[in-house]
Every structure is written in structure tokens, then in C-alpha cells.
């Protein structure tokens, strides 16, 4: 009887705690994709700076043609391991509109670190007009905005396979093994050796897909490392505090029991 009771209680507690997670996991109806080993997985995970820099290069040279990154400013790039001068140099490659000046005119100037990453299109309509009616989503939150996160992105980017026999693909659409419905408006953005990495890494398609997925994981949550570092300390503190209160409770209650 007692074991049954404690079993029930354990079951109840585990259900109550795990229910919210399993429900959300179940509610996502995407195609199953393999999970990857990422340096930023787990409670002690950190970003791999050279991976991020390579991924940034892929974004800048390929993705940025169509996809904005509205929540990232040039100054944020110091997180990737660039120093201040490098960031200034990267920003200066871009022209942004500023103004109005004292004459009331808008003018173009070189970007500075406090500027937001420039958008590829003036507005959503312009973006659709250039992309066969499809709107390339902003990428600054893409890892949190898709169930499966970086695993899904990697699967998607490396999932442009041959169209299986018998599968109809609409006009202007492309087959992707992992995109919901298998039809995506974006053509395979990555090609073998599509970029030339400065650190000598071979830019295979899979390597680029990995690097840019890691970069976008950073862009989605630039504070992740700080969060996990703080979490470890907070948990240790709370465990010690819980232990102290447990023994205080035991001692205070010893005259009642």
C-alpha cells in the first residue's frame, strides 16, 4: 500500500513536471530530423568563436542577399570574437540612409557599429516582388521560432535532395526533405565551396550549413553563454541553501517528533 502510494506520488510529480514539455514537443508536427552535436548544447555549452565567424561569413555573403537580421547591430559582432576596429571595418562596408539633415534631406553614409544590420529590401512588398511572391523571413530569432532550432535549420539547409519519384513540385518551388510539406520557395542557398573561409576550413555544403546554423543560434540568443554561466552558479547556491534549510528544519522540528 505504501509503495503504491509513493509510486503514485512519484508518477503524479513526474507527470506534472514533464507534461508541459511533452505536450509542446508533441504539438509540433514537423518531419523528424536528426539532432546534431553543438558546442552550445547542454548546461555548460558555449559558442565556438571560429564556427560563429565562419557562419557569419556565410550569412553575410549568401543569406543576407534576401534575409534581414533586424535585431543584430554591428556592435554585437564583438561577441563573435572580432575586435572593435574589425567591427568598424565590417560596418564601413555598408551604406545606410540617415537624416534628415539640417536641410531636411535624407543622405547616405557609411554604417557605424551602432547601426542595425541593413535590410536587403525596402519593405516586405519589395521582398515578395523579388522572390516569386514569397517573403524571406527575418533571421534574428529563427532558431527559437522553429521547433527543433539549430538542428532543424541544419537539416533544412542540407536537405535539398533529388525529388523522389512520384512527388509533384509546384512551379517556382523546390523539394526539401525537411521543410513541412516538402515544398519550399527558397532554392538551395548553399553550394560546395560557395564561400572561401579565411581559416582554411574546407567550405563543404554541410560545413557551411553547420556554421551558419550555429551563427543563427547565436543571433537568436546572444546572451546564452551569460545565461548558462549564471545558471550554474545560481543552481549551486540554491542547492547549498536548500541543504541548509533542510538541516535547520530537521533541527528545529526535533523537539516535536
Amino acid at each position: 500500500m505504501m509503495t503504491l502510494r509513493s509510486k503514485l506520488i512519484t508518477l503524479l510529480l513526474s507527470t506534472l513536471i514533464s507534461a508541459p514539455f511533452s505536450i509542446i514537443a508533441n504539438s509540433a508536427e514537423s518531419i523528424a530530423f536528426p539532432s546534431q552535436e553543438w558546442s552550445f548544447n547542454g548546461p555548460f555549452g558555449t559558442f565556438d568563436r571560429s564556427e560563429l565567424q565562419r557562419g557569419f561569413q556565410v550569412y553575410k555573403e549568401i543569406c543576407a542577399t534576401c534575409h534581414s537580421l533586424n535585431f543584430i547591430s554591428f556592435r554585437n559582432l564583438t561577441d563573435l570574437g572580432f575586435n572593435e576596429n574589425e567591427v568598424k571595418a565590417i560596418a564601413a562596408e555598408f551604406q545606410v540612409e540617415d537624416g534628415p539633415n539640417n536641410e531636411g534631406e535624407m543622405f547616405e553614409r557609411a554604417a557605424i557599429p551602432s547601426d542595425v544590420w541593413p535590410t536587403p529590401y525596402k519593405n516586405d512588398n519589395a521582398a515578395r516582388a523579388s522572390n516569386n511572391g514569397a517573403l524571406p523571413p527575418d533571421l534574428s530569432l529563427i532558431v527559437d521560432a522553429r521547433s527543433g532550432g539549430a538542428d532543424y535549420l541544419f537539416a533544412l539547409l542540407s536537405g535539398y535532395h533529388k525529388v523522389p519519384a512520384g512527388k509533384e513540385i509546384g512551379e517556382g518551388m523546390y523539394y526539401n526533405a525537411y521543410y513541412p510539406g516538402n515544398q519550399i520557395a527558397m532554392p538551395s542557398p548553399l553550394v560546395e565551396d560557395g564561400v572561401e573561409y579565411g581559416d582554411g576550413t574546407r567550405a563543404t555544403l554541410v560545413q557551411q550549413a553547420r556554421d551558419v546554423s550555429a551563427f543563427l543560434a547565436w543571433a537568436t540568443e546572444p546572451n546564452m553563454e551569460q545565461r548558462k554561466r549564471m545558471g550554474v552558479m545560481v543552481i549551486i547556491f540554491l542547492l547549498v541553501m536548500t541543504g541548509l534549510f533542510y538541516y535547520s528544519k530537521k533541527k528545529i522540528w526535533s523537539d516535536v517528533h
Binding site: 505504501m2 502510494r5 503514485l8 503524479l12 507527470t15 506534472l16 513536471i17 507534461a19 508541459p20 514539455f21 505536450i23 509542446i24 508533441n26 504539438s27 509540433a28 508536427e29 548546461p43 535585431f71 554585437n76 523571413p137 534574428s140 530569432l141 527559437d144 521560432a145 522553429r146 521547433s147 513541412p180 540568443e221 546572444p222 546572451n223 545565461r227 548558462k228 549564471m230 545558471g231 550554474v232 545560481v234 543552481i235 540554491l238 542547492l239 541553501m241 536548500t242 534549510f245 533542510y246 535547520s248 528544519k249 528545529i252 522540528w253 516535536v256 517528533h257
Partner: protein, 419 residues
């Protein structure tokens, strides 16, 4: 009643004119509490502390948040990226809502198991149900504020429910929206009410505590306190026990906040609201899922809405549905089993609420919904008549003290509660 021994003359001067210290001493220090409360009794104070955490983090968030359809999503991301420790405050607030519901649901099921709603604690219970309703309204409106896809479409689906009310339904929906669709006026009034309602909850919590202190806590045996030998003073016995429970709770909460902060949210809410694009599945927050399942189980819209509200409404009359004079399920052999069946039913409804309304899920939702109401409307009144309770121990003190003589058969059961 003995007042505190105040040595500080200023404190004594104040207390003579405004007896705050005497009041605190009476209600938080010497307040006699049954000595046999188990850890399920920790969840009341935990709920109170979670409410404070939510209010404090919420006030800080509102200093940086912009309630406008064009800026809300961006302002939340600004909090996440540019406000110092903004990510921490927001993750605590977002996950805190889930933890608030976990704690309160456990608190409610504890009340159901030990019959804490029975005389003389009916009003205490009813005030608790009022708090639950206010929490739900607050949580719903809070989820709208980040103005992501789920915020927008959740708000659209839920507010549309009111259109089922005959005659005035459409007008009520227009009033809720402040227009003819979920738009900027909706966001503004939801923000306003989301800021207001937590303080209304605080008010009802105060009443809840006043009602609690009138007769004191119920206890695992469900029998009345007979005298001093059955109680201990609240401080230090229950303050230290609550602190232990709080530390353990915060450890679990911190694990989620720091390592899985988005696990209880929906990825679609990181996509800015877009009235032109409907998400594939519109799913409410997990804590609404049982009620969502009941809503969808009924084929008729109006009846579905009524059933959903009745699922909470029935809790208001629970003290008069369960007429059994015995409070604790420990001494009610049939109710004890039916309690666990009911709990499984609620978990099943939660699961079904997240599933698409098709095939076997619809049938299961209907069965579980029928059972939910069967439990309250038919089973509990019937049990009050037909169930033979086991004999109750004579007093808390006798059954708690180890080796205490005179405790009849139920004593081992009582000892088990303590361990």
C-alpha cells in the same frame, strides 16, 4: 492573546497606536498551526511567493515594454538583448507563469484530497477559486503582450468564444477588442488589465489568508485541532519548513529559467504577429489545455463555452456537492481511489487539449469531459451517502506522537502522513 515583547521604545510607541507588531506576532509568529502538516501544505505559501516574484518582475518588464502593435514585439526583444539582465527578468516572468499554475494546481488537488473545502472553510475555498479565475485572465492577457503569432491568434480564438453568447455576444467581443478585430486597442486594454489584475489577486489573497486564519489550516487527518498539544507556533516551525520548500522550488525553477527557458513556450510566439497568416495549430498555454479540451469536446459552440466555464464554476459549489462529514481521503476508502481517477482524468484532458480535434482524440475528450462532470455532480454526492468512512483518530497529538498510547487502528496511516 499575548503581544510581542518589544524592547525598542520607538516600536513600542508605534505599536501602542498602530498595533502592526502585535498583529504580525499574532498572525505570523505564534499563529497555531497543526503539527502534522505534510509537504503538500507548502504549496500555499509557495503560490504567494510566486505571485510576488511575478509582480516584481512584471513591474520591471513594464518599464521597458511598449504596448503598441508596431513596437511590442521589438520592445520585448530589446528587453532580451539590450536591457541589463532583461533576458533574466523576462525568462523568470514567462516561466514563472507556468510555475505559478503548477504550484496552484498542486495546491488545489491537495485541497481536494484532504477535503479542505469542507465546513467551516467553504469561503476560504471559494476565494481560492476566485483567485484561480483571476490568474487565468491575467495569464491569458499576459501571453498576448509579446505580440507574437500565438499571442495574436490565441487572443483571436479566445475572445471570439464570447460571440457564442446569444444576443449580446457580438457586442461583448467588440467591447473586448475595442474595435472590429484584435488590434492595437485590444493590446492596450490587455496591457492595462494585465497590470491591474495581479493587484486584485493580492487583495483576494489577503481575504484568502484572513479566512484561513479564522479556523487555521486543515491537516492530513482532516480532524479539528483539539488544543495546544495538536499545534505548533507558525514561527519557527513552519517558516523554516516553508523556506526549505521554497529553496527546493526555486532550484527547480532556476533549472528551467537558466537551461530550458523556452521549453514551455511555443516557437511560433517568436514570429511577430501577422493577421494575414494563421499558424498551423493554435494551441493555448499548457495550463489552459484541460479547459480547452472540454471546450472542443462539446459539438455546440455556446454549450462548449458554457461547459468550459462550468468546469471551474462547479468548484464554487463543491463544498455542497461533497456532503461527507469526513474531510481527509485517508479515511475515505472509495473517495481516495476516485480522487486518483479524477486526477488521471484531468491529466488526460490536458494531453487531449494539445492534440488536434480529430478521430480518437475527439471521442476521448468527450469521455474525459463527461467523467469530469460526473465526478463532481454525481459521484461526490453519491459517495457522501453510500461510502462508509474508516474510524477517525481521536486527536492530532495522539496520532502524531511516536509511541503515544491510545491511538486506535488509523494511527499507522497518520504516521505515514508525517514521514
Amino acid at each position: 492573546m499575548s503581544g510581542p515583547k518589544l524592547t525598542n521604545p520607538v516600536a513600542r510607541w508605534i505599536d501602542h497606536r498602530l498595533p502592526v507588531f502585535t498583529f504580525l506576532h499574532h498572525e505570523m509568529h505564534e499563529y497555531p498551526t497543526p503539527k502534522n502538516l505534510n509537504y503538500w501544505w507548502n504549496f500555499g505559501s509557495l503560490a504567494g511567493i510566486t505571485l510576488v516574484i511575478m509582480i516584481v518582475t512584471g513591474i520591471i518588464l513594464s518599464m521597458h515594454y511598449t504596448a503598441h502593435v508596431d513596437h511590442a514585439f521589438q520592445s520585448v526583444e530589446r528587453i532580451m538583448r539590450d536591457v541589463n539582465y532583461g533576458w533574466l527578468i523576462r525568462y523568470i516572468h514567462a516561466n514563472g507563469a507556468s510555475f505559478f499554475f503548477i504550484v496552484v494546481y498542486i495546491h488545489i488537488f491537495r485541497g481536494l484530497y484532504y477535503g479542505s473545502y469542507k465546513a467551516p472553510r467553504e469561503l476560504l475555498w471559494i476565494l481560492g477559486v476566485v483567485i484561480l479565475l483571476l490568474m487565468m485572465a491575467t495569464a491569458f492577457m499576459g501571453y498576448v503582450l509579446p505580440w507574437g503569432q500565438m499571442s495574436f491568434w490565441g487572443a483571436t480564438v479566445i475572445t471570439n468564444l464570447f460571440s457564442a453568447i446569444p444576443l449580446v455576444g457580438e457586442s461583448i467581443v467588440t467591447l473586448l477588442w475595442g474595435g472590429f478585430s484584435v488590434d492595437n486597442p485590444t493590446l492596450n486594454r490587455f496591457f492595462s488589465l494585465h497590470y491591474l489584475l495581479p493587484f486584485v489577486i493580492v487583495g483576494v489573497v489577503v481575504l484568502h489568508i484572513v479566512a484561513l486564519h479564522r479556523f487555521g489550516s486543515n491537516n492530513p487527518l482532516g480532524i479539528d485541532v483539539r488544543g495546544e498539544q495538536d499545534t505548533v507556533s507558525f514561527h519557527p516551525y513552519y517558516t523554516v519548513k516553508d523556506m526549505f520548500g521554497l529553496s527546493a522550488f526555486l532550484t527547480i525553477m532556476a533549472a528551467i529559467v537558466f537551461f530550458l527557458p523556452n521549453s514551455m513556450g511555443h516557437p511560433d510566439n517568436y514570429i511577430p504577429a501577422n493577421p494575414m497568416v494563421t499558424p498551423a495549430h493554435i494551441v493555448p498555454e499548457w495550463y489552459f489545455l484541460p479547459f480547452y479540451a472540454i471546450l472542443r469536446a462539446v459539438p455546440d459552440k455556446l454549450l462548449g463555452v458554457l461547459a468550459m466555464f462550468a468546469a471551474i464554476g462547479v468548484l464554487f459549489i463543491l463544498p455542497w456537492l461533497d456532503r461527507s462529514p469526513v474531510r481527509s481521503a485517508t479515511f475515505r476508502p472509495i473517495y481516495k481511489i476516485m480522487f486518483w481517477v479524477f486526477l488521471v482524468d484531468c491529466v488526460a484532458l490536458t494531453y487531449l487539449g494539445a492534440k488536434p480535434a480529430e478521430g480518437i482524440y475527439v471521442i476521448l475528450s468527450r469521455l474525459c469531459t463527461v467523467y469530469y462532470f460526473f465526478h463532481f455532480i454525481i459521484l461526490l454526492p453519491a459517495l457522501s451517502i453510500f461510502e462508509t468512512p474508516r474510524s477517525l483518530p481521536r486527536s492530532i497529538g495522539k496520532s502524531v506522537l511516536r509511541g503515544g498510547n491510545g491511538a486506535p487502528a488509523p494511527a499507522p496511516a497518520a504516521a505515514r502522513e508525517k514521514s
